[in-house]
């Protein structure tokens, strides 16, 4: 993890901001998993699932550079996420 961040630092990236953003991402995923499993399964399973999610996410750090790459201003990228969103909305509202 240190080497990955150090590599980005050499490329002129803001590491302090990136590290805070990564921390936020780790919490989003682990708390999201906790909330989802707690609402739809049992509390014990939710704790186990969120712990596993936490481990997996920490292994994948740094995530923020990948996320910001996906946040590109290009038209095709935006259109792809728009198409994905409308599909998901119809599927989720349909209760599938």
């Amino acid at each position: 993890m240190y080497e990955k961040f150090f590599e980005k630092l050499k490329q002129g990236e803001d590491i302090a901001g990136a590290f805070t953003a990564d921390f936020q991402m780790v919490l989003l995923i682990s708390l999201g998993v906790l909330l989802f499993f707690r609402l739809f399964t049992t509390v014990r399973l939710a704790i186990v699932a969120s712990f596993i999610a936490l481990l997996l996410v920490i292994r994948a750090i740094p995530l923020v550079f990948r996320v910001s790459k996906e946040h590109s201003d290009t038209f095709d990228s935006m259109l792809f996420y728009f198409a994905l969103a409308i599909g998901l909305v119809i599927v989720l509202l349909g209760g599938i």
Binding site: D14, A16, G17, A18, T20, A21, F23, Q24, M25, L27, L28, L31, G32, L34, L35, R38, V64, V67, S68, H71, S72, D73, F75, M78, Y81, F82, L84, A85, I86, V89, I90, L92, L93, G94, G95
Partner: protein, 496 residues
């Protein structure tokens, strides 16, 4: 003469529309444009306060009783005309919108005079006011289209290639989202033969007793996608932040207010129509969480100050979405309160950046620094704005964020409370990073010639910033002057 018959809610839309037409026509005659614009701004500021709360039927068409709609559903009452509802909450929204539109117009005059530019701001006021007040879904669609066009035009006015690209992308997505809403409306019209939201609410309530029709789900999905675009939620947070960052900061302050108010107004319409669909709230909650977290994450990564603020504005809109998605009465009330509070607080930051850009002529934070003693009270006001946006007491956003956090815990989502608190902290980190870079870092090239001379800047911006900080503090210290009106509004929705 009865003033109630003159100052009707429709005038809140009609006057800015007429002003926009006149200003557009007068473009090029700078002195006349300036005079008309200032008169228009004064009228726009005064109108929300002198207009009494009322329900306005266009053309004076009354409600009729016991009418069969497009299907065999019999409604006890049916509205024949377009209806505008103007109560305390609409008054609050339109009054805040008018203040920020005035700021955008008057700050623009410190640089140059353009009739078309001011016309687009007036068009923005008219369209947002209509969306806030209208109880007719087709009328809302029409004004959403006008809103998108006016926002794109304000970006085009910057005149750079990047601004043109952003505006074109925004118009294309606006076109797709608009078509999506229109298709949703067409399905509703086909099924129920109605466009009035209150009438549709009654018809759908009767219809879903036997089960939710598939057509209703598709209509909901289509209108929901339109809502995502208009409110800048995931996946439209990228284009929305791009638009804010390419526009002049004084206009971006106005635009983010429009977005937050349209977010609430359109959500109210969707909720009243599709409250029967069980996954609706979960979906709003999901996109709210994603917008909030991605917004603040991307803000932390930015090197451009306008883009940083744009992403913070998106994150705060996400927080409003989270409150609406929780769906309890307390959460929804707190969330609408937060939309009002955050619109005011974010405007302080955008206005402070308009002063910074006036001096530095760059948005790149790496080229900024050393402005602390060069810009009067602006850094101090900016710092107060940062505290306000981050939800610190005694500012207004503290009152609303605290209520959202409490409501999330009470509704059985303590994880969300944790996430909201951490998002507030990350927001503070992102904004303080920007503050340090602009004001505290070592001076840059643009200051070396006149290192000790205070740089000139627009004092008008400072006046508006003081006004906004005062409003934020006033609401923060006495929330009881605003909060009960929002509570009352949520109660009258009848579907929460």
């Amino acid at each position: 003469m009865n003033l109630d018959t003159i100052f009707v809610p429709a005038l809140l839309v009609a006057f800015p529309l007429i002003a926009a037409i006149c200003l557009n026509f007068l473009h090029g005659k700078d002195r006349v444009v300036k005079a008309v614009a200032i008169i228009s701004v004064v009228v726009v500021l005064v109108l929300p306060w002198i207009t009494d709360a009322a329900v306005y039927w266009f053309g004076g068409h009354p409600q009729v009783e016991n009418v069969t709609g497009g299907t065999n559903i019999v409604l006890s009452k049916l509205n024949l005309a377009i209806v505008y509802k103007y109560a305390a909450i609409q008054k609050l929204f339109i009054a805040i919108l008018a203040i920020l539109a005035s700021a955008a117009v008057l700050i623009h005059f410190t640089e140059r005079v353009s009739g078309v530019y001011v016309a687009m701001i007036m068009l923005g006021v008219a369209s947002t006011s209509a969306v806030i007040m209208a109880d007719d879904i087709f009328n809302i669609f029409v004004f959403l289209e006008i809103l998108t066009i006016s926002q794109a035009a304000l970006v085009i006015a910057i005149g750079s290639i990047q601004a043109y690209k952003t505006a074109i992308k925004y118009l294309i997505f606006g076109g797709i989202a608009g078509s999506s809403i229109l298709l949703g409306i067409a399905i509703l019209l086909n099924n129920y033969g109605l466009l009035n939201v209150s009438d549709l609410n009654r018809a759908i309530t009767l219809d879903i007793e036997a089960g939710i029709p598939h057509a209703l789900i598709v209509a909901c999905a289509l209108i929901f996608v339109g809502w995502l675009f208009e409110s800048g939620m995931v996946p439209f947070h990228i284009i929305k932040s791009d638009v804010y960052s390419k526009a002049r900061p004084s206009v971006a302050a106005f635009m983010q207010t429009q977005t937050k108010f349209v977010l609430v107004a359109l959500w109210v319409v969707i909720l009243r129509l599709f409250y029967g669909i069980s996954t609706f709230n979960a979906l709003v909650l999901g996109v709210g969480i994603l917008s909030m977290v991605f917004g603040v994450m991307m803000a932390l990564k930015q090197t451009e100050i306008t883009r940083l603020l744009a992403y913070v504005a998106v994150a705060q809109a996400g927080l409003v979405g989270v409150g609406l998605g929780i769906g309890t009465r307390a959460a929804v009330t707190a969330s609408i309160f937060h939309a009002v509070n955050d619109a005011l607080a974010m405007a302080i930051l955008f206005l402070s950046v308009s002063v910074v850009l006036h001096i530095t002529h760059t948005v790149d934070m790496r080229k900024m620094g050393g402005l602390l003693w060069k810009t009067g009270y602006v850094p101090f006001l900016c710092l107060l704005g940062i505290f306000a946006v981050s939800g610190m007491p005694p500012f207004n956003t503290y009152q609303s964020e605290f209520r959202i956090i409490t409501a999330a815990s009470t509704a059985g989502y303590p994880e969300l409370s944790v996430l909201i608190i951490l998002t507030s902290i990350a927001t503070l980190v992102a904004l303080m990073k920007g503050f340090y870079t602009i004001y505290l870092k070592e001076g840059q090239d643009y200051l070396t010639d006149k290192e000790l001379t205070p740089v000139s800047y627009s004092w008008g911006t400072e006046v508006f910033m003081v006004l906004l900080v005062a409003i934020c503090l006033a609401i923060g210290l006495t929330p009881q002057n605003v909060f009960p009106y929002i509570e009352q509004f949520v109660q009258t929705l009848g579907v929460i």
